[in-house]
């Protein structure tokens, strides 16, 4: 075995294709350039090799994983490996029969995204009329005996309706509710002027979520994730680079996070050419920001360096052009003013709805 840390979770991005156009999509801006290059046998091997390395959970995600016709085979393989298997889906396009097949194959958990508690507002963010259908799917999930996670990405437009989102989750008998603020990377960065909330909005929403967490204890797990733009110190992005999570992109790159392949100058190997263990241990991209040797000041001598691992590399790149900089979300970063400027702009933005740029294939990308 190697000296690399043990990974626990595999994020299997089965495809970047998706019927929705969410304005904060976590796929890269140039998603259309990355084709689905892994066939069923490749993904099965990735699951086996990841499990050998210590992985115990797999998130089957995308894009929209339901678009893979071989999803059944992958669930079957994951369960044969005794992996905790989580399907992360928009719920579109899903038929009850297929969901029942997933149940019989042993899928452990289904996570459905809901963009807002209200139909028109939800569909506005998804760029498609899908809200009612998602509710139907969420109800099937529970009817068939699955645990249900609801995930709502929070931002300026829906934060004030967080109470309605919680009420909807209760009505759907969700087991877990993820109230996760958008993080301003990729598509969300592009839409930051429209999406970044104010501090007052966040404070109110956080208190509503906190009250719900206490009230629903033991029945529904309620998570509230703040945007990095409003923290004093950044969280440990992905629990640290190349530390706990393996991400495999639709074209087979083995990555430490969802957007690492958008950082310039890093090379990530492909699981079609090398084993998961080999790539996890020694691909140049994985080792680039693993551990502390790469850290600049003020991280290098900071007592929090083993807590936050320097924050998010993609955020550092988005805000400074240098992926090896301290995350500007950190109040100790020399570039923190860039975050403060964005917050000030959010505080001064005119009320009302701003123009959104929808996720779509870009011809110039």
């Amino acid at each position: 075995m190697s000296s690399a840390p043990r990974p626990y979770t595999l994020v299997a991005e089965l495809t970047y294709a998706c019927p929705l156009h969410c304005v904060y999509c976590s796929n890269p801006l140039d998603f259309a350039r990355h084709h689905d290059a892994l066939d069923t046998a490749d993904w099965r091997r990735v699951l086996r090799e990841a499990e050998q390395l210590g992985v115990v959970q797999v998130n089957l995600t995308g894009g929209e994983p339901l678009l893979r016709a071989d999803l059944e085979h992958l669930i079957e393989e994951a369960r044969a490996l005794d992996l905790y298997t989580n399907l992360i889906t928009s719920g579109i396009p899903l038929e009850r029969e297929r969901l029942l097949r997933f149940r019989r194959l042993g899928l452990d958990n289904v996570q459905v995204s809901i963009q807002d508690a209200r139909p028109a507002e939800s569909d506005r963010v998804a760029g498609r009329e899908v809200f009612q259908r998602k509710l139907v799917v969420a109800r099937w999930v529970k009817e068939l005996g699955f645990p249900l996670t609801l995930n709502t990405v929070l931002h300026r437009e829906n934060l004030d309706r967080i109470g309605e989102v919680i009420a909807l989750a209760e009505e759907l008998h969700a087991d877990r509710l993820e109230l996760a603020n958008a993080q301003y990377l990729g598509w969300a960065f592009l839409n930051r002027p429209a999406l970044l909330p104010t501090e007052a909005q966040l404070r109110r929403a956080r208190s509503v979520a906190g009250a719900a967490r206490a009230r629903l204890e033991g029945r529904m797990e309620v998570l509230f994730v703040v945007p990095d733009y409003y923290v004093e110190f950044p969280p440990a992005c992905m629990d640290g680079w190349g530390r706990r999570f393996i991400v495999v992109s639709p074209d087979g790159l083995l990555l430490p996070c969802l957007l690492a392949h958008t950082l310039p100058g890093l090379s990530f190997g492909n699981v079609r050419e090398q084993s998961v263990e080999k790539l996890w241990t020694s691909s140049p991209g994985l080792t680039a920001f693993r551990g502390e040797a790469w850290m600049p000041e003020p991280c290098r001598s900071c007592s929090r360096r083993a807590i936050d691992f320097g924050g998010c590399r993609c955020q550092a790149f988005h805000l400074t052009g240098n992926a090896a900089a301290t995350d500007p979300a950190c109040s100790l970063s020399l570039d923190h003013a860039r975050v403060e400027t964005a917050r000030a702009a959010a505080a001064q933005a005119a009320p009302g709805l701003a123009t959104l740029r929808y996720r779509a294939a870009r011809s110039h990308a």
Binding site: Y84, N109, P147, E221
Partner: protein, 93 residues
């Protein structure tokens, strides 16, 4: 509080998994996992929806022969309550 007739069972979202690397058990649930100590694993294996807390204590006592019964019962009760608070155990009955 766990009623005397309550029968704890793992929540539908939680699953026990043996871990080759550590030789122990993990309790897995969405996006999370807990590494269990041997006693916690023994208790959770008995949370099958058929045994009451007293039933679990009785079974455990065979394994933990030098732990006095009342203390073992208190350990089990506290652990079951904590896991129920976290939504990882459901108590039927």
């Amino acid at each position: 509080m766990i009623p005397p007739a309550g029968k704890p069972a793992l929540a539908s979202k939680a699953r026990l998994r043996y871990d080759r690397a550590s030789g122990g058990y993990l309790l897995l649930y969405p996006e999370r996992g807990l590494a269990l100590n041997p006693t916690a694993a023994s208790i959770l294996k008995l949370c099958n929806g058929e045994l009451t807390v007293d039933g679990i204590v009785e079974r455990l006592q065979r394994e933990y022969t030098d732990r006095p019964g009342p203390e073992l019962r208190q350990d089990v009760l506290e652990f079951v309550e904590e896991m129920a608070r976290r939504g990882l155990l459901q108590v039927a009955g």
